[in-house]
């Protein structure tokens, strides 16, 4: 398994809410990534964002792991929640907040923070 694939798995499994997106929360490069980010923000999710644009291999490895062909992809505690359409739909029905409460605990909003991680094909020093 490649270092890149390892790094992506670490993000998926290690972060409470992982959002693989085009661009960063500060500079979103795609309307669908924006839709997913905004739905997560409305639900008060502590988002860890990963920009897939710097290296095409990130998207390839990510889709190989998740079996999901499009970007964005949202994971909560290692489980694929879906892309922009599903996250918006779940947010609209209140199911997104219920899922976050179930998986992260009722106080998940308190720890709300937004961060951006960079994954590379090189192992961390």
């Amino acid at each position: 398994m490649s270092d890149l694939s390892d790094n992506i798995r670490q993000v998926i499994e290690g972060e409470d809410v992982a959002l693989f997106m085009k661009g960063t929360p500060q500079m979103v490069m795609c309307g669908n990534s924006m839709r997913a980010l905004e739905a997560l923000r409305r639900a008060g999710a502590p988002v860890t964002a990963v920009d897939i644009l710097p290296d095409p291999a990130i998207r390839e490895e990510l889709s190989a792991i998740s079996g999901w062909p499009t970007i964005p992809q949202v994971f909560v505690r290692g489980e694929l929640i879906g892309g922009a359409d599903i996250v918006e739909e779940l947010e609209g029905s209140g199911d997104l907040e219920r899922t976050l409460e179930e998986k992260l605990g009722p106080g998940y909003r308190d720890s709300r923070e937004e961060k951006t991680l960079v994954v590379t094909s090189f192992a961390a020093p």
Partner: protein, 77 residues
Amino acid sequence: MATDPLRALLEQAFPDAREVDVLDRTGTGDHFQVTVTSPRFDGLSLVEQHRLVYDALAGPLADGTIHELRIRTKGSS
């Protein structure tokens, strides 16, 4: 790509669908909104439902003719 080939792929994959709708969102033949209503989605999570739609459209997704795909799925209830 026109909407008809996509509709045909979806109708083939969901022969019991009560609704198959394909909309070219931008008029450029590469940004689509698809809606499928089928009893096949009953009891499945949204991720599983969307996976079935992705599987049906795997060809045009893989060769890049679909640049962006929005999916709406509904079960029979």
